[in-house]
């Protein structure tokens, strides 16, 4: 659908060759600063969290809008764990966090984790989530086109039957240092319980390293990702209704969710 809209917009512009764009002044709605939370619970890794806040839309920030000095508590199985404020770096993921603790996330797909944050100005946000089990990749295969030099990649997995499942797929070339060639979230309404494949075009050559991953995500994370994308896409799209961010952070925005994924790496050979 987005592709169709792009063609349509291109077509509209082709109707006229005049300069039909100009700068205008608009008065933006008032900015109400809200806490922004990102916390991904990954089995076997410590609690880590980024707390920041929203900034006015028309302001170019010179520093990251992180929020320090807040009381951040993750509760699990009757235990309250207060995260300390500081700089925490995950060298593998190449991400930084400003809150963390040494508590390791256990493999528990049943119990609920809750989050409560109160900052120095009294703003309070809460959230809860569970961790989902991994949905494994069944196979990763590649096929060459007629020239035998360009390959397409197919990542196969089996959708869990009889329940609403949500997935996120990423595919990187070379390493995880770069943005992925493919990233999108989807649900299993079309292919409930079936074998599922994510495919690429004939974009890869012999010698390429491909890293492909299937994330098993919950509804809240799926909706968050979808609405973030829709809000972003609506800028400049006359056919899109701007989306409001659906977030599981009560009184704030962001996401508090489990992060489970299966990742596979292949090398393209002759």
């Amino acid at each position: 659908m987005p592709k169709f809209n792009i063609y349509f917009i291109l077509f509209l512009f082709s109707l006229t060759a005049c300069n039909l764009e100009k700068d205008i002044e608009v008065e933006l709605p008032p900015h109400d600063p809200k806490l922004v939370v990102e916390c991904y619970l990954e089995v076997g890794k410590p609690y880590r969290l980024v707390l920041s806040e929203t900034i006015p839309f028309d302001v170019i920030p010179t520093t990251l809008p992180t929020v320090d000095g807040a009381i951040v508590v993750i509760s699990y199985n009757g235990t309250n764990d207060t995260l300390s404020n500081g700089l925490f770096i995950d060298p593998v993921a190449e991400k930084f966090f400003n809150y963390g603790s040494s508590t390791i996330v256990p493999e528990d797909f049943v119990n609920t984790y809750t989050l409560s944050i109160t900052d120095s100005t009294g703003r309070n946000v809460t959230a809860s989530t569970k961790i989902l089990p991994i949905v494994p990749i069944d196979s990763v295969v590649y096929n060459f086109n007629d020239t035998d030099t360009l390959a397409s990649i197919q990542t196969w997995f089996t959708d869990l039957p009889a329940q609403d499942n949500f997935y996120r797929h990423t595919l990187h070339k070379g390493s995880l240092d770069n943005n992925p060639d493919q990233v999108f979230a989807l649900d299993d309404r079309v292919f409930d319980g079936d074998d599922v494949v994510f495919g690429t075009g004939f974009d890869y050559v012999i010698g390429d390293t491909i890293i492909t991953a299937i994330y098993h995500i919950d509804l809240a994370y799926h909706d968050f990702l979808e609405t973030v994308e829709a809000a972003s896409d609506s800028n400049g799209n006359p056919f899109a209704q701007p989306s409001f961010i659906l977030s599981n952070i009560e009184n704030g925005i962001g996401i508090f969710t489990g992060l489970t994924f299966d990742r596979d790496t292949i090398y393209i050979t002759q």
Binding site: E21, D23, R189
Partner: protein, 769 residues
Amino acid sequence: MKKLIFITLLFFFHSLLFGQNTTEKYSISGYVKDGESGENLIGVTIYVNELETGTTTNVYGFYSITIPAGEYTLNYSYVGFDDFEKKIILNQDLTETIELGVGAEELVEIVVSADSNKEEINSTQMSVDRITTKQAKVLPSLFGEVDIIKTLQLKPGVSTSGEGSAGIVVRGGGPDQNLIILDEAIVYNPNHLFGFFSTFNSDAVKDVQLYKGGFPAEYGGRLSSVIDVRLKEGNRKKFAGSGGIGLISSRLTLEGPIVKDRGSFMVSGRRTYADLITRAVNKSRADDPDFDKIPDYFFYDLNTKLNFDINDKNRIFASGYFGRDKFGFNDDDFNFDFDWGNTTTTARWNHIYNPKLFSNATFTFSDYVFKIRSKFDEFSFEVGSGIRDYNTKIDYYWAPNNKHNIKFGVNFAHHNFDVGRFQATVASEEDPLFESDVSFQAVDMNAYIAEEFEVNDKLKLNGGIRFSSFLNDGQFYAGIEPRAAMKYSLKDNISLKASYTRMYQYIHLVASSGASLPTDVWYPSNKTVKPQLSDQVAAGVSIGIGEQFLLTNEVYYKWQKRQIDFRDGADLFINPNLDEEFVFGKGTSYGNEIYLEKKKGKITGWVGYTLSWSWRKFPDISGGQRFHPRYDRRHDISVVLMYEINRKFTITGSWVYNTGNAYSLPSSRAILFETQGIDPQVITIYPARNSERQPAYHRLDVGLVYKFFPRFGEADLTLSAYNAYDRRNPYFIYFDIENNEETGLPESIKAKQVSLFPILPSLTFNFKF
């Protein structure tokens, strides 16, 4: 509600109980036709001067009036034709089929009789606008493409759903809440070229009526308006043709008698030809590696109609429409083909049982389908959707006496909703990767009865009731839709009017945008999705000012219940469970419409002003706060003028002004740091839906029509300029980050307004023989 039904039935039986008196009465009935072509004329006023009473021809050109025996003068009057008077001695039932002509001195395209306001003032019908092809043809238009639906947008209470769009919004209702029928068959997507042109070829259209409120009982199924389009029947006198060559398309219409004065045919087609140019450009630049191919696009449509008088009491008609839009982009790596279009067929039988009772039996077929086929490397995708209807109905028109006119009828329709077909395949696999095909079979059955009762020479009442029902997937819905209208004449030239209508809408358009896109899907009511419902009250005054002017003012208030929208982040495309994406709410619309029309003289035209509000409230949208739909317009002004300088030259102009669209602006941003392997991104935050306003929209269109008279008949050159003072109206607004030239770092965020059309001159050549 039981009490309401009882009152309504009592109203109907009143005519039978009290409509008779001892004086012998006879009927005058027949058809009124265009003297030049033999076409039946809709809405001709037949007035009995001595009794100061009258009637009008129905949509099939038939009239019937029953009055006491005596000597009378009948006056037949119709917009664009000379008055015709006939003296009769009524001592038995009479059949009077009349042919109206145009006098030699009447050179103006829109010619009206001295009594041209009579019908508007005396009828109980309010909230109705009528456009003839003649009117639409002289007015300036986008790319010179005459569009009768766009001309309706110049009437008060009616606005466009977007710049240049043929989609219309009526009294705050959604673009999907308009019932659009072509010769009684529903047209589900009345647009070509992504909504920039309507599917109606003006050469083939005879008459368009738009009901904004006070809906007659024979209409139902949509909340906000009824657009009733009637095709020409074809010239019964002689073979004739007309056509035109324009900037975008060419048209040709042929018509003529099958048997002189007993039957005729009409065939009308048009096709755009931009694709011929773009293909030539693509071919000439095929070797240029930097050249991006231009997508192919064209549309065509074909209208046909046949009619034949079997005898004086039986007439049969058949008409059809077939249109397709084709959009394609094909190169070595990527193929994209997108086709969509409507097909309609109508077969009708008019039967006169006796001078007082007329019937119309109709079978219609409607089909709308879109298909997208896309191929990218080894992957292929096919997406499609459609709706197909078979409908039978019968309508009766009964005029027991001059005080009463009764209509009743019943219809049964079968709908096949192909909500979503989707198939994805990969060349290396035999079976499809994904496959989905969601369809529904639904039926609806409706019955109605309505009566117009002339209580005395001042007061006229119109009451009706419609029973509607809908069955889909085991879920049955039924609704009772009362219709009521009244007219009270304060003076001969001033009347007060009021109306109340209830409408149910059982099918819903899944459209994610304000624009009308061919991928919009019709979706039936079911257990989850209940029918939409509206109640509308309207009151107004109609004043005839001299012989030339008509002034009307109407106020309205509309309650809309079970309105449908979509949850934030809804996935509407290729979704087999669309139900889960819907959210439900309510709406209200209210406003005042003033309309002044000059109908006679060398200068004709109208001025309309609408002051209106439209609101929606959904618990799941914008935190439950009420908001304006995108097309809410506080002020809407239209001025239309046509000046016939002499027999050869006519100058036309239209100016529109309206409050800018309601739209959403962001207030804040946030940074999403993301997970491993994905770069941080900026989130845009919108605090409320449609809380802001785009700049106002205004535009002047001007036209010059030069007529000349070659040997073969008549021709004209129509020069028009759309957006004559080159106003940059907002189409959409977006934000762009501007970087510092030296550092390359983001420096500021600028709002940019994009307009769609600058001044667009066009020249069209039209001919008639």
